[in-house]
């Protein structure tokens, strides 16, 4: 008797790309707003960015239902933290919480590819990049999602990432100004949209700095 094969998959890839860049006193987090399934577009205006705390913003692409559940879970945990400690969670703390939450479902993972961006306790920009089961690393910039393979090499080239093998360890935080970083993000998404079918429609950019949070939008190709 042949073993029964599954005729439905609990996962789906709803596509999209996410990018985050850390600066000396700011952090830029960006994602496109297209949500797809297979070769169809479900909607052109879906936000992949979620503000978890005052100084932590997460962008996630992958399976939308898992992303939504993950965002809800973290938001709930953050609320409990605020009740218990009477303060907001710092970005490094949120980073570890996200990693632990992802690993908790190591054997039925959240199909979510995340970048967490924010300001650390010194006000410097920090970006953490994750895989689907929670391994994470603090970096100066990162890209995740369907367009990541197109975006990451370009960022490596433009942001002149220092080798991680250097001693003393050199910070990968970019010396670019905030406006230059935002401009770079726009360029990067325009390029990714050309070749990645799952990236496009509209770009949502969130900029975190000492003055607070700012949003910017840019139209992308809709084909």
């Amino acid at each position: 008797m042949t073993k029964q094969q599954a005729n439905w998959s609990p996962y789906d890839n709803n596509g999209g790309s996410c990018v985050a860049i850390a600066g000396a006193d700011y952090c830029v987090i960006a994602a496109d707003t297209r949500m797809s399934t297979g070769y169809s577009i479900l909607t052109r205006e879906y936000s992949k960015i979620c503000k978890l705390a005052d100084k932590s913003v997460m962008a996630s692409s992958g399976f939308q239902a898992d992303v939504k559940a993950l965002q809800k879970h973290l938001a709930a945990r953050h609320l409990i933290y605020q009740h218990q400690h009477n303060k907001q969670m710092s970005c490094p703390a949120m980073a570890q919480l996200l990693s632990n939450t992802l690993y908790y479902k190591r054997f039925f993972p959240y199909y979510a590819f995340n970048v967490l961006g924010g300001l650390d306790s010194e006000g410097k920009g920090c970006v953490y990049t994750y895989d689907a089961v929670g391994s994470y690393e603090r970096v100066g910039y990162s890209a995740q999602g369907s367009g990541s393979t197109l975006i990451m090499p370009f960022l490596d080239n433009q942001l002149k990432s220092p080798s991680p093998l250097l001693l003393p360890a050199q910070d990968a935080v970019t010396p670019l100004s905030e406006l230059e970083a935002v401009d770079l993000v726009k360029t990067v998404f325009a390029s990714a949209t050309e070749r990645d079918i799952y990236t496009g429609d509209k770009l949502e950019i969130v900029i975190l700095n000492a003055d607070g949070i700012r949003h910017e939008y840019m139209e992308l190709r809709k084909d």
Binding site: M1, T2, K3, Q4, Q5, A6, N7, W8, S9, P10, Y11, D12, N14, M35, T37, S40, I41, L42, T43, E45, Y46, F63, Q64, A65, K68, A69, F108
Partner: protein, 318 residues
Amino acid sequence: MADGAAHESTEHKYRPISPIFASTCACTLSSPTSRRRSRNKPSVSLKYSHIHSTLIFLCFNSFSLIHRTTMATTMVKEVGSEPAQLLGPESASERTLYPYVTGTSVVALKYKDGILMAADMGASYGSTLRYKSVERMKSIGKHSLLGASGEISDFQEILHYLDELILYDNMWDDGNSLGPKEVHSYLTRVMYNRRNKFNPLWNSLVLGGVKNGQKYLGMVSMIGVNFEDNHVATGFGNHLARPILRDEWHENLSFEDGVKLLEKCMRVLLYRDRSAVNKLQIAKITEEGVTISQPYALKTFWGFSAFQNPTVGAEGSW
């Protein structure tokens, strides 16, 4: 896609009548009793009951045959023709494996006063158009309208859950009532949790409503993927109707324009989706409430010259 003026197709048993006439003159407000009645198994007319029993007999014996040839949703190596219980404990499953009785697309859009939603009344058993009077749209509470495609029994289960939800909401008696956003959120959680237990409710749900002047239209899939937009469609509608809506939808559509646009989409689906039947309902939800039209048929046109004498160019064909 011609709008047949003088042509009346002989195949549909339902008289085509002007949709606007139908919806303005003969609307039924979906009441709890009618909902409960139609929650029961869809009734089969006596005329076809003997076919019904033969079908069941045939179906049971050719169980795997139907699945092998017709289940579009399955890409599976078939198990064999014995019922699941005889295969041994490791193969028997009480979880949903595949859908049996399925409804096809639901299409919905936002218009000036609220939401318009359309669905046909067909439910297929594999490739057989088994039931032709299934109401796939139901009102939920005071502010929402739910349309479903996919497994009909799972839709009935969802209605049961929502009945309980609305009941408890009413029992608070606090002047507040669950709006479409809340019902959509509840449904998303239910669908996602069932998917987590590997026992999904095999439906794509469309949830529309108006509360305090705010229009809302959203969709949930069987694995929990959800979003809201100005127009949504499930199943084949996603491929055939959405492009039409993307091209022709705009803010503040009038009721007539909205109905015309929906009918355009439903007509394309009728021509191209094999599981569509020419008996549909259009539902409207506004701040005042829900009205679901009486079933009616769309006018179709088949008088293309290529359809007359179809074998004229095929010499020697039998």
